[in-house]
Amino acid sequence: MRRIGIDVGGTNTDAVLLDGTTVVRAVKTPTTADVTTGITTALRELLTPTQPSHPGPAPPAAAAIMIGTTHFTNAVVQRRDLTRVAAIRIGLPASASLPPFVDWPEDLAALVRGEVFMVEGGHEYDGRPIVPLDERAVRDAARRLRAAGLTSAAVASVFSPLNAECEERAAAILREECPDVAVTLSHQLGRIGLLERENAALLNAALVDLARRTTRAFTEALRASGLTAPLYLTQNDGTVMLAATAEAFPVYGFASGPTNSMRGAAFLSGLADAIVIDVGGTTTDIGSLRHGFPREANSVVEVGGVRTLFRMPDLLSLGLGGGSLVHGDPPAVGPRSVGYRLVNEGRVFGGATLTATDVAVAAGLVDLGDRRRVADLPGDLVKAALARMHATIEEGVDRMKTDAREEPLIAVGGGCFLVPERLAGVSEVVHVPHQAVANAVGAAIAQVSGEVDQIFQNLSRDEALAQGRRIAEQRAVAAGATAASLSVVESEDLPLAYLPGNSLRVRVRVVGDL
């Protein structure tokens, strides 16, 4: 089966055409400001035969297109393109001393925190209200957030995963008072743990505008390229979701870039256990590969310094990439990056901004653009900037190692020339074919999932879990998975003491090959 995997990074848009397990073709083009043009260009290069006059049957059309993007994570890490949000916490008099944003890094909170409302309501663990929902306070909050010009709101209510009534009611009031405001409800994103679930909702709310724009750009690009295969967006766990569903939940795609890159690295290297370093244009991600899958963070995962409860690869993200700005004396590198503008603004490409790539070209590590344009760089500066980057990378790799023994390091990504060949604690630096497009490969091999999150009554726990599993499997098959390839990746149950008939909330997630 033929599949197209596309990775839209901050700097480059990569695309691969995969036929079974063979990379038929791979291209790398700059990401464009409108996103669409970059994808269209990549697809045109990917799908144009190398020898146009070559006779023979036309290759079969791709059966699916998978796009992974680091757009949303980059927005949080770089603190840009974020929408200011209104936080509505329903739970007073509980939770008062720890308001929304309480454990956010101050700089990010300053960008995202619009208005914070704490109102009475929420539920007990057994489904009774703590106190009745203060609808007037919600209505008042809705009017005030509209007056403040806010366009996105996150609502989190105490025990909403067990009883979403308060959040649903608040959403209805928001729709009445300010119909244009995008509303993220915490129970759609997370589970028990008010702060972490609320954080996920706040991040999602800060990203919905960007997600909507980005997904539309993807769809537009496919249409312009004449592709009709279904479009999927890749998720944190290495699976895909139909684009139309995915756009309301950008946080589900948070870690998809690195997940794809690590799964791609495993696929391309044939190594199942290694450290993977993916150097992009803006950021560097370091993770640990165990049995072909990224090692997952155990429970709490920080995204841009914010605690969440997503299942995500355990990753260290550094603000270092090929487009990172080199500035100051002694030279500092990043975290600001010219991103996709590297090919215009980088010195070797005729621009005026000194970037990590320019330093690497000056040092002879890579041949890009016009190296005469960096001939005037003082040798001391080049040496100092390189030493700075190497120290950053070495420290990062060391932090992600959990074992004192030396391990192989797979270096992938467009900026992997920044990785030195020798590092402390690393047995060898492994380079793989198509390394520069590892994440597009990872996207192309992504699996599909089926999920159920439902309350079962009058069944034993085993029966309820089995039934949940059957439904999840049916959904995965409906989404395109082959039945034989299905496996359970998540299975969780929560007793609901307040409902009659021995109620159990069951959440099961299965994945399978497309």
């Binding site: 509980a94 008062a96 703590i130 105490v158 155990n298 299975s491 003491a497």
Partner: protein
């Protein structure tokens, strides 16, 4: 003059890590209490730690804890004003002031509850508790083992509900009465337990457990910084035992009578591959079986830790796929006496098992 030692903000961070490990899966994650302490310290609060031997025999000490299911705490969060209200309510009831505040249990968030109350009420925290870990029920304390009186008790919730249990016929009755009140207000409440004299604390409390929790936290932090295995460092420093390493395969939980009960299965990895460890919990881990054979039981401390970071994992945050290490830490000697085992041995949790310490 008693020697009071100011506790630094860094020590509060270490305390949170150490207390969570001593929580043996229960006591609730100290994270929310820690967030409150960070906020209080940012506003200028500094809490002092008091050597219990500096208490005068007739000093009065408040014993505080947040009571209930940890799962509820994760949703309702925690507020310093609630625990402080439980203390002032007891003072109003008794008509006299407390010299200092101590923790009921050093395991989990309750290690930090006295600090929250102390910051608001400007009193020192006594370096002691009466469990040396966390336990689910009121009679599972060194004070109960020493037959000290168990009343009165004050209990407050986040609304304006407050209860005084003026008398109780036994520890079991105190547990029953306060637990019923706790369930009625949503399975979480701040409590101030029976007040103690300085003499009682010196003779019957588990002494220096606050500094022990801080020390454990420091050990883990130091190992992480040095890229050493934090679990190995902890087992070595605290004379513990490594019991099992693996991946969580299945977790079953049910919330009953205000407790979180359940079981978790761990599939072995590394040297334990092919073996299975099963854990039973009632808020805290109570028993562990290796391949169906009892391997460890309460009151030995059964700690389930993230295999990489060494952070404790609570019974309410256990999840499929987590890589965990199960270790045992020694219990305070008072819990190992015949009287102690009556209160906190496996039979007290409904398991018909003889207690044999893994350290015996």
């Amino acid at each position: 003059m008693p020697s009071l030692r100011p506790v630094s903000a860094e020590e509060i961070e270490s305390l949170a890590i150490g207390a969570w490990i001593l929580g043996t899966g229960g006591g609730g994650s100290p994270y929310l209490a820690l967030l409150n302490m960070r906020a209080l310290y940012r506003e200028g609060a500094v809490v002092s730690l008091m050597d219990p031997m500096d208490l005068a025999d007739d000093d009065h000490v408040a014993v505080v804890s947040n009571m209930g299911a940890p799962l509820v705490g994760q949703e309702r969060l925690t507020d310093p004003r609630t625990i402080a209200r439980a203390v002032t309510m007891m003072e109003d009831y008794l008509g006299r002031q407390f010299r200092a505040i101590m923790s009921l249990e050093i395991g989990g968030g309750n290690a930090i509850q006295p600090f929250m109350a102390a910051a608001l009420l400007d009193r020192p925290v006594v370096d002691a508790d009466c469990m040396g870990r966390a336990f689910p029920e009121a009679q599972m304390t060194s004070f109960a083992i020493h037959d000290l009186p168990m009343f009165p008790l004050t209990l407050v919730d986040v609304r304006d509900n407050a209860i005084v249990v003026a008398r109780a016929a036994s520890w079991k009755w105190m547990e029953r009465l306060s637990r019923t009140a706790c369930v009625a207000v949503g399975s979480i409440a701040a409590t101030c337990k029976a007040p103690r004299t300085g003499k009682e604390v010196k003779e019957c409390a588990i002494l220096y457990s606050t500094s022990k929790a801080i020390r454990i936290g420091r050990t883990v932090q130091a190992a992480r910084r040095a890229h050493r295995d934090p679990i190995e460092a902890l087992v070595e420093a605290e004379h513990g035992q490594m019991l099992f390493t693996g991946k969580i395969g299945d977790v079953a939980r049910r919330a009953t009578e205000g407790f979180l009960r359940g079981t978790a299965k761990v599939d072995g990895l590394g040297e334990f591959r092919g073996h299975r460890f099963e854990l039973a919990f009632q808020n805290e881990f109570a028993v562990g079986w290796l391949d169906g054979v009892p391997r460890v039981t309460t009151p030995d401390l059964i700690c389930v830790l993230d295999s990489v970071s060494g952070d404790a994992i609570g019974t309410e945050t256990l999840r499929y796929g987590q890589r965990v290490s199960v270790i045992a830490l020694p219990a305070p000697p008072v819990l190992l006496t015949p009287k102690g085992l009556e209160h906190v041995g496996p039979r007290a949790f409904g398991y018909d098992l003889e207690f044999t310490s893994v350290f015996a």
